[in-house]
Symmetry: C2
Subunit: 336 residues, 2 copies
């Protein structure tokens, strides 16, 4: 076990509320427990659940840091028990249950992925949350297969841009919805095959026109009234995977249609899953996806980098909805 | 190709309506097309979809006979092209898209299963529809695994009794709901571990008391208000498989709960599936289930046998809801 430094800057949530509730604080640097590494954070990714947590609507799971931040990248500077000495000094990115908005952050060693040559630490910090989420929900839960058509809402969000990129790498045809023509253009530039402006077009009608059999898989974060609208343009044997309920939790669905068309409606959240599940997922991603990261074919769509102290500004940007791709916070000096 | 006889008695549907619309008629014996066998029907199973078809609510799929009846057993008496000669004289039961309520019925050879020694033809006729339906929805779609808990509604129905028997053979704990204490006793006698009288008890509360983690798989034919009630007593990662909407098609569900608990909501209908799907299913059942039929460990729960001409009476019994297990029609002389 190697000790780390004493205190650090971290972003606390002063009270549930708006972006200004995100306040830089001095905190003790956490000490790595068995199986954990301490990472000197270079960059931390900002994700929609962080906003919900700030609002008080998404409390950290038991045992997690109260500091927001579900992913980060940096250098391993201290080790807990049962972590091999050669982890020291490694550049890693990791999925964490909290604590990313800080100069130092703990991660379980088996939830880390190595940062390969050519991947900047800011890009690395932008990968874990959306990559783990999209991989699990699209390919494991949603059973997306080469040649199928995927519909993704929020095509320029962190999740949406990752779904486009990952989907294209694995042979899917991608239709996305976005809230403006400009975002549609951005989604197409990122790799989507079709982009629908949901403010000016009925996405279901457009999907049905583009692919009369319907989409095989839909990745949805809206729920509410979108649930049946999604089912209406889902192919026979199609899978609707819901990962957030930004449009409301209550959904009225037509069960007769669901069973006649043999639809599957499912969903999941990532943060509360046990360590073992995330370790298994990290292993799968290391094997099946990381080669694409290593050879440069998979890079996150990057929006903007804010200094850690300006986390409030980063949240305002996310809530403003003008971002395209990932917002990250720069915590260290190594701001590449 | 071997020719069959000329005319036969069959049950026609005079017009959409009550049981009396089921009228014995003289019909031409159908001629086996390529890949089909003609079966001299000894017994035909009666199923809930037959009632819906009689009411005009479940039209036969394209190419299917207009005569009701989705399963039957008897002797192969004529062959279409591309069926090997040694099929002649075989005793088989088969899943059919219609035509079972008759003295002769066509079946695709690959949808037939052999009637082993010790299985009566009346029992054989009672197997295919529920066995194919329960197998596919419980083990394939619902991914039920040994050691899991299954909740089945309509515990004394044809589907319910088959789910109990099949579930017990494959190591599941079975909870059923029934509409009376007498039916609960019957379901327990058939093998259910727990039976809930849904008229006197809140099934969800009882399931949650019996298995606090919730049921892993639920086989539902009610839908409507049952959908959320089912989800409320479904375990994390549980699967709700709906095969009919007897309680109504519209369901309001809580998507937030669905995704937090990682539920899967799916369903299917059997009749409209392509021949190849049913052939694949028949093959799986021949391999994984038929040994239990052959050695006597799997027998259908039998309710009552009516002569073919009394099909109306058989439907009245099914709609009366007093039956326990399968109702069959006797079409031939070999009424065992």
């Amino acid at each position: 076990m190697v000790d780390g430094p004493g205190t650090m800057t971290a972003i606390g949530i002063a009270a549930p509320g708006g972006p200004d509730m995100l306040v830089p604080e001095r905190r003790a640097v956490p000490r790595a427990r068995a199986g954990e590494v301490l990472v000197r954070v270079a960059f931390a990714g900002v994700n929609r659940p962080d906003v919900l947590q700030r609002l008080g609507a998404y409390p950290p799971p038991a045992g997690a840091s109260d500091i927001p931040g579900l992913e980060m990248a940096g250098e391993v500077v201290a080790l807990g028990e049962a972590v091999a000495g050669d982890w020291l000094g490694r550049r890693v990115c990791a999925l964490v249950t909290g604590g990313g908005y800080a100069e130092y952050c703990l991660a379980r060693a088996e939830h880390c992925l190595p940062v390969p040559e050519g991947l900047s630490l800011s890009e690395a910090a932008a990968l874990p949350e959306t990559l783990f989420t999209v991989w699990h929900n699209l390919f494991e839960r949603g059973q997306a297969r080469e040649g199928e058509t995927l519909l993704v809402h929020g095509g320029t969000s962190g999740i949406g841009t990752m779904a486009i990129k990952l989907g294209k790498l694995f042979g899917l045809t991608i239709i996305v919805t976005c809230g403006s023509d400009g975002k549609c253009d951005a989604a197409l530039a990122i790799g989507a095959d079709h982009a629908i402006n949901y403010r000016t077009d009925d996405f279901g009608a457009v999907v049905s026109a583009l692919t009369p059999a319907g989409a095989n898989v839909i990745l949805d974060m809206v729920a509410g009234p979108y649930t049946q609208r999604n089912l209406d343009c889902l192919a026979e044997d199609g899978r609707l995977v819901t990962i957030a309920v930004l449009g409301g939790a209550k959904a009225e669905i037509d069960m007769a249609r669901l069973l006649v068309r043999r639809h599957t409606l499912t969903g999941s959240t990532l943060r509360a899953r046990p360590d073992g599940f995330k370790a298994r997922l990290a292993e799968t991603i290391a094997r099946d996806v990381w080669p694409y990261v290593a050879d440069g074919r998979l890079r996150p769509a990057m929006d903007r980098i804010f200094p850690l102290e300006q986390a409030a500004e980063a949240h305002r940007r996310m809530e403003g909805g003008e971002h395209i791709g990932k917002i990250v916070l720069a915590a260290g000096e190594d701001q590449t």
